[in-house]
């Protein structure tokens, strides 16, 4: 199983949870499994068929996954972080 972690920005749309575990072989299929389970997140994650929303950032075990690298293989125990690529406001 692969663990997908996300921030409140996504979690608040699905009951406040902050991570899920999915069965997947690639980063893309892991994200697809996530949005199949939680369709509320689909518009945040995808802008088209297998096209990741450019406003989102995906990390696999601390490494940034570019939009063209969704086919990157994952294995049990891997961790994917999904977050909005923009935020702001600090003093």
């Amino acid at each position: 199983m692969v663990r997908i972690r996300f921030t409140t920005f996504l979690g608040e749309r699905i009951g406040g949870i902050s991570s899920v575990e999915v069965s997947a072989t690639t980063v893309g299929s892991a994200l697809r499994a996530l949005t199949d389970r939680y369709p509320e997140l689909a518009r945040l994650v995808w802008t088209g068929e297998d096209v990741i929303n450019p406003m989102m950032a995906v990390f696999l075990n601390d490494q940034l996954v570019e939009a063209g690298q969704l086919g990157t293989a994952v294995k049990a125990g891997d961790e994917i972080d999904l977050l909005a690529a923009v935020s702001g406001g600090v003093a």
Partner: protein, 608 residues
């Protein structure tokens, strides 16, 4: 602050905080222990200060009756990472209703001043009235509680925020941190958006100009009116023992997904808020030439990708913070090493003091950011107001304002900034709302309720008007459109009334918004750090109540529904260059949204 939750899980009366009220004209000091009346007061920050402000009706920000409240959150000075926030609250000279009454505001700043304030034994400092001459207030931890001393501050006048802090460090070399105003605050009558500069550990050690800021709403102007030039908080560190549960929360804050965007790329991050350029620019979402992206490639010249090879960039942090969100820009030495410190590049000041002024040279951008810091102004307000001036001069070449500056005219823009901070351009210093109304040319004045907009296009954020303390700091709807591209009224009504308002939570707790701490984690932090047994739902309800109080206070000060709107060019001159489906906020859309939002908020406001 004393907490004793042994018998009750979250009884507010179990929390007693120490209030220090200073009557500035008489120098009378009153120290008192104040039991909390409700959970808003327990959490602190604006949750406490707004209850004090709400009891008063103030007709002018610059009157003795308007207090300046300096306080902390329940987690300020705690072991919780980023528990560093200091809050400055008052009726603002900048935020103003159509009736001419000031609105209540708060502004928050980080690093160690807030901790030191707590460690003197003072949780809340209320400055009443106005001192007869420039004064400095020195708070210390004494053997029998906090002590207060007044010192003349004439020798500090005219110095930049940084130079004031450096001077104070010589006088108070041990265990002290400082809150100061710069020249802009001293010229409060001509500059309504002066900030309060807070000293940082990095600054005191390096000697570099690296203040943190309570910037929004002119809290530095109120401090200037009161003739308080500096506040010194001197006390030994009293950091508590780190509990295992808090260590885990801190680790999650520093390494979890929430803070990734602020961390460096080689630390598994995206490179800080400055990296917004990378994702906004391809979609023409970057404010350019007064919030009107042109679809050209000029904004890209201020992106980190382009700037980084020219400078030495070091990620640094506030006291004890592991996120390292400060992207400090230094000159690069001939050997490629770190040279002279230039400026801290955050998205907001970079955009509003360069791209949005038509300036696309990072050296010039760094100079302007540094200048605004030295003068002690809010970079958002001064940048957005000057963008309006440049826009006006483009539109009215026959009767230009001030020195006739146009977009991209670095030298004249620099002169406008310097003159504003020094009090020579009061029409700029009093903000874009007043300036545009005097000129009768308000449609492209980028403000809501008198507060200048931050660096997110109003075309993509119809939630701006419901921010109670500045555009993106108190209503988190500024990033929704890029992320979800939803153009329906129902979506936006829900976003404002059910999600965006919770942005104000951390302005009660005393932590930084950059931890992106989930509600559950925040409730756990409260339980483990201070023993406050509060459920996530109770926490959210308390935050919501505090936010609604803010709306109620706006209504009390005369703000009417018609003032909750956007700059009219959003409706009347839609920008065809806008990416992601183009403009969608029409008058009809906004009118329907407004009805839905108020149908929710009106019922809750009525309960006050």
């Amino acid at each position: 602050m004393r907490l004793s939750f042994q018998e009750t899980r979250n009884d507010p009366k179990a929390v007693v905080y120490t209030r220090c009220t200073i009557d500035l004209p008489s120098r009378d000091v009153r120290l008192e222990d104040v039991p909390c009346r409700n959970l808003e007061e327990v959490l602190g920050g604006f949750g406490r200060s707004f209850q004090i402000l709400g009891e008063r009706t103030i007709v002018n920000a610059f009157t003795p009756e308007n207090p300046l409240i300096v306080n902390t959150g329940i987690l300020t000075g705690s072991s919780v990472m980023t528990g560093l926030r200091t809050y400055f609250s008052a009726y603002s000279p900048l935020k103003v209703s159509a009736k001419g009454l000031p609105g209540a505001m708060w502004s928050a700043g980080s690093d160690k001043f807030g901790c030191k304030l707590r460690w003197t034994g003072v949780d809340e400092l209320i400055l009443e009235g106005r001192a007869s001459g420039p004064v400095m207030i020195v708070l210390r931890r004494g053997s029998e509680g906090p002590t207060v001393e007044f010192k003349p501050a004439d020798h500090l006048l005219g110095l930049s925020c940084h130079d004031k802090i450096m001077r104070l460090q010589k006088d108070y070399p041990q265990d002290a941190h400082f809150a100061v105003i710069g020249p802009a605050g001293e010229n409060y009558e001509a500059c309504y958006f002066a900030a309060v500069g807070l000293s940082t550990e990095n600054q005191l050690k390096s000697g570099d100009d690296k203040c943190r800021w309570a910037g929004r709403g002119g809290m530095g102007s109120v401090m200037g009116y009161k003739n308080v030039i500096a506040i010194v908080a001197q006390a030994p560190d009293q950091m508590g023992k780190l509990k295992p549960e808090i260590r885990d929360i801190n680790r999650e804050s520093a390494t979890g997904p929430g803070s990734r965007k602020f961390r460096e790329k080689d630390k598994g991050g995206l490179g800080g808020t400055w990296a917004h350029y990378e994702v906004f620019n391809p979609n023409n979402l970057l404010p350019q030439d007064n919030f009107r992206p042109k679809g050209d490639d000029k904004p890209w010249l201020m992106s980190r990708t382009v700037v980084e090879p020219q400078f030495f960039i070091k990620a640094e942090s506030c006291y004890r913070c592991g996120i390292n969100c400060h992207k400090n820009v230094y000159d690069k030495t001939a050997e490629g090493g770190r040279g002279r410190f230039r400026a801290k590049f955050d998205y907001e000041p970079v955009n509003l003091l360069s791209t949005n002024l038509g300036i696309h040279d990072p050296n010039q951008g760094a100079d302007l950011i540094s200048l605004v810091d030295r003068l002690g102004m809010d970079s958002i307000s001064v940048g957005t107001t000057i963008a309006y001036v440049l826009d006006y001069n483009e539109r009215h070449p026959e009767k230009p304002l001030f020195n006739g500056a146009r977009f991209g005219d670095f030298e004249r823009v620099k002169e406008l900034i310097e003159g504003t901070g020094r009090g020579r351009y009061p029409e700029i210093g009093r903000g874009v709302k007043r300036l545009s109304e005097r000129l009768g040319d308000t449609t492209y004045a980028m403000q809501c309720k008198g507060l200048e907009l931050p660096a997110y296009l109003p075309d993509t954020n119809p939630g701006y008007p419901w921010a109670i303390a500045g555009g993106h700091m108190s209503m988190a709807t500024h990033l929704l459109y890029p992320a979800e591209r939803d153009q329906s009224v129902d979506y936006w009504a829900k976003a404002i009334t059910q999600r965006g308002l919770f942005q104000v939570r951390d302005d009660m707790l005393g932590i930084c918004k950059f931890t992106i701490m989930s509600p559950d984690m925040a409730a756990q932090a409260l339980q483990h750090e201070v023993g406050l047994d509060i459920t996530t739902q109770e926490l959210l309800a308390t935050v919501r109540h505090a936010y609604i109080r803010g709306l109620w206070m706006e209504r009390k000060q005369g703000f009417e529904r018609s003032e909750y709107t956007l700059p009219s060019e959003v409706f009347d001159r839609p920008n065809s260059k806008l990416g992601l489906g183009g403009p969608f906020v029409t008058r009809e859309f906004f009118s329907a949204l407004s009805e839905k939002v108020w149908s929710v908020f009106d019922q809750e406001i009525a309960a006050f």
